[in-house]
């Protein structure tokens, strides 16, 4: 019975595709999320996930529901917003998070407007919240490629990313080219958001990045274990989220993110590091 509940759904090809895509997503997005949290860029992740929308919408208007078009449009829009927001904060008095917020509101409104031109709320729902069950073979390849590029790039630029984040003044003094690595990192964030939006939708794809990462901080004290735990949480959320979605006939994106959300709540209540429980215990 339990066996059936846990494994039988994956006899179907579309469920196996969905599972594989969420596993890949989790493996790439987990570490990216941990670095987002460490770099105190959670809000920027939020902004970027909204920024993907108008690009995806334009792709949809011109080409229809085709993954390459949506992804490419989303990727471009996300990058443009990331660069614009960075420029605005450097050239004006506005702090980066505020300038990101400005751009993401514009992007979100623009995206919704563009999709509404097609006059079908089903499409809007599809782009906003995605469907893991519609992941086909080309999408799988795209997601797997993005995950591989993400992991390889992170392995190469791990040290500068961490040092710049810990002590930006030091990094400037040693001529570390902080903005160069910052931009590479932003590109990785946008890529992973794009990878996520077919199955999770543009708005929820950040969920598989941020929730496992913030949860991992409650279980691990060092960065590497945080990476591994965030990946595990993302993978477990993906697996159980899909099962819940299948058995209860709910949309997959919200199920996956809500599963990650439950793990997040458990983590901040009972985690080993700085959780609610550790604050209650007498030292």
């Amino acid at each position: 019975m339990i066996w059936d509940w846990l494994f039988a759904p994956f006899e179907y090809q579309f469920m196996r595709n969905a599972l594989l895509s969420t596993l890949c997503l989790g493996i790439g997005a987990g570490p990216v999320g941990v670095l987002l949290v460490l770099r105190r860029m959670s809000l920027m992740g939020d902004a970027l996930s909204h920024a993907v929308l108008p690009g995806a919408a334009l792709g949809y208007i011109f080409v229809g529901l085709s993954l390459p078009a949506l992804s490419f449009g989303g990727f471009l829009a996300g990058l443009i917003v990331a660069l614009l927001a960075g420029m605005v904060s450097r050239m004006t008095h506005l702090k980066e998070d505020a300038s990101f917020a400005g751009f993401f509101l514009i992007s979100l409104a623009l995206g919704v407007l563009i999709i509404s031109l097609r006059n079908s709320s089903v499409d809007l729902m599809n782009i906003l919240f995605g469907s893991a069950l519609a992941v086909d073979y080309p999408s799988l390849i795209l997601i797997a490629a993005i995950t591989s590029i993400t992991l390889l790039t992170l392995a190469v630029i791990y040290r500068p990313l961490v040092v710049e984040c810990f002590d930006p003044n030091f990094f400037r003094l040693i001529h570390g080219h902080g903005s160069f690595y910052h931009i590479i990192f932003l590109v990785l964030v946008v890529m992973n958001l794009v990878a996520g939006f077919q199955s999770m939708g543009t708005l929820l794809s950040l969920g598989i990045m941020m929730l496992p990462a913030t949860s991992a901080r409650f279980w691990a004290a060092h960065i590497w274990p945080m990476f591994i735990i965030s990946v595990l949480i993302a993978v477990v959320s993906g697996y159980f989220g899909l099962l819940i979605s299948y058995h209860l006939n709910f949309p997959s994106g919200p199920c996956i993110v809500l599963t990650a959300g439950v793990i997040y709540i458990i983590s901040f209540l009972f985690g080993r590091n700085g959780s609610f429980l550790t604050h209650l215990k007498p030292r």
Binding site: I157, R159, P160, N169, R172, L173
Partner: protein, 242 residues
């Protein structure tokens, strides 16, 4: 002591720094001799940190400039204010100290045996042996400063700039760190640090700069650190920019 060779002085050339409409530094002029040990004092908000940040190259002057006439490289090592670093960041003592080797190793290379020996030596010099694998958030204020001093040892720069190194630490650590600063001074490094404790400035530093948005006095500590100059600095800051 190194000879007074003026051709290598760091020249501060009518330095202005503005934060928007607020003037932080107004027309600072002077020269810093190589191998000198200088205390930067003055009232809060007088631009001490701004001055040394500009000197280190972290902050761009609004107008004017700083000319480093160094022979080999112009690299400087900088100790940030205690509160300017994230004490909760999940890195270990050893990881932070080893950042000091960045100019030698760069972003991608691994640590050689020699590098490891250097890291170990610096760790021992500041008395943090055995704490290498501790997370920095478990350190006391004094231990944290010791760790950053070890990083500066590894950086091996000819110009060392310290922003309030003795804030939030115990007397024992202060003494140990002063000893390190004296060692650096003996080896010919140029050292500038922001200080609050004027007695300490009198005791250890040959040169003093008093800043209160403008340069109130600059020169030999004995001549500069007078009560007149100190009260002048407070008046100057209260009066607002001229």
């Amino acid at each position: 002591m190194p000879a007074h060779d003026h051709s290598n002085n760091i020249i501060i050339n009518d330095l202005h720094v503005h934060y928007g409409a607020t003037i932080a530094l107004n027309g600072i002029k002077g020269e810093i001799e190589p191998g000198s040990l200088t205390a930067v004092v003055g009232p809060n908000g007088g631009g001490k940190s701004t001055f040394i940040k500009a000197l280190a190259g972290i902050l761009k002057p609004s107008t004017g400039g700083i000319i480093h006439q160094c022979k080999d490289t112009c690299d400087s090592a900088y100790l940030p204010q205690y509160t300017a670093v994230d004490h909760d960041f999940p890195v270990t003592v050893e990881e932070v100290i080893s950042m000091g080797l960045w100019r030698k190793i760069g972003a991608f290379k691994g640590f050689s045996k020699d590098n490891r020996a250097l890291i170990h030596k610096a760790t021992r010099q500041v008395g943090l042996e055995g704490m290498e694998q501790r997370l920095i958030k478990t350190l006391s204020g004094g231990q944290f400063q010791r760790m950053l001093f070890a990083r500066i040892i590894l950086e091996d720069s000819s110009l060392i700039i310290l922003d309030e190194p003795f804030t939030a630490i115990d007397v024992h650590t202060s003494e140990a760190l002063i000893k390190l600063i004296e060692d650096w001074h003996k080896s010919g490094k140029t050292i500038l640090l922001v200080l609050h404790d004027l007695q300490m400035a009198k005791k250890y530093f040959d040169k003093t700069i008093i800043l209160a948005r403008e340069c109130i006095a600059w020169g030999d500590t004995k001549k500069v650190l007078t009560e007149d100059n100190i009260s002048l600095s407070y008046q100057n800051l209260l009066r607002g920019p001229s």
